[in-house]
Symmetry: C2
């Protein structure tokens, strides 16, 4: 796995960063593809939302139970979105504003500045959207996610 | 990146496989975590849907423009979900039926049997669902995706 580009955002530190795109509404950023991949952006401007897969490059190692930002007790790692994972791949859905010279201008960015990008996929409701969903322990935390900010608990030691 | 487990499904070949979970409604499969990661499954049974990230292990190489299954003209790779990508990571949302001894019984599986699993994330609408979405060239193909099957065009040479 090698980066195909880098993500630019206003967030240079985990502390204070929104933990999900819905908490980052309107936050602007850029996806800068390396020149050799830019031809793959053709037709992307027709999509309003993109799935970004990226490396949690500032997290290292993992534990199989973690206390998530939205809870006060340990949960199984795979029942959380915590960044310290065996394969530290992050996933965010961002809004695409425009494409210019291989650079995507995006919104709702909950990603650290300088994050290595692994893949871009178009967000397609018929593939990616589910209704009537149960969300386990997260149901207790209600809508707190929109206001919740990150802290340093997942920073690499 | 190392597999944390393997995905089991009825599909041993790309030919005839549904191309997305919505075309694989009711298809049953299993996610078998390696023993050393199973403790991370705690609390996952509360979630009805999971995001699986996995390796497109039967695809190799990539081209920056591809003729997708749902179209008859070349599109930019990053405006498609084609498996041959610079970082060949697949993403599917599956329905979780039950958890038993580190094995997840899932439905809506559009994934090849034996696929190496990279990560499991809980599907959380407030993070992952978007409304009022534009889907570019895919809008012309309407609901054909549910019926569309794979063929051999992305098989490794």
């Amino acid at each position: 796995m090698n980066p195909i580009g880098f993500i630019r955002s206003p967030f240079s530190n985990l502390e204070g960063m929104p933990i999900q795109p819905t908490g980052a509404a309107g936050v602007q950023g850029r996806v800068e593809l390396l020149p050799e991949y830019r031809a793959g952006l053709k037709d992307i401007e027709g999509f309003s939302h993109l799935i970004l897969l990226y490396l949690f490059h500032r997290s290292s190692g993992f534990q199989l139970d973690v206390v998530p930002f939205l809870d006060n007790q340990p949960r199984g790692l795979f029942a959380t979105r915590a960044p310290r994972r065996p394969n530290p791949i992050g996933l965010s859905i961002v809004r695409l504003d425009s494409v210019e010279n291989g650079i995507l201008h995006v919104q709702d960015v909950d990603i650290l500045d300088g994050t290595p990008l692994l893949d871009i996929k178009p967000y397609v409701p018929v593939f990616d959207r589910r209704d009537q969903v149960r969300t386990g322990w997260l149901e207790q935390s209600g809508n707190a996610v929109a206001a919740q900010k990150s802290d340093s608990r997942f920073v690499a030691a």
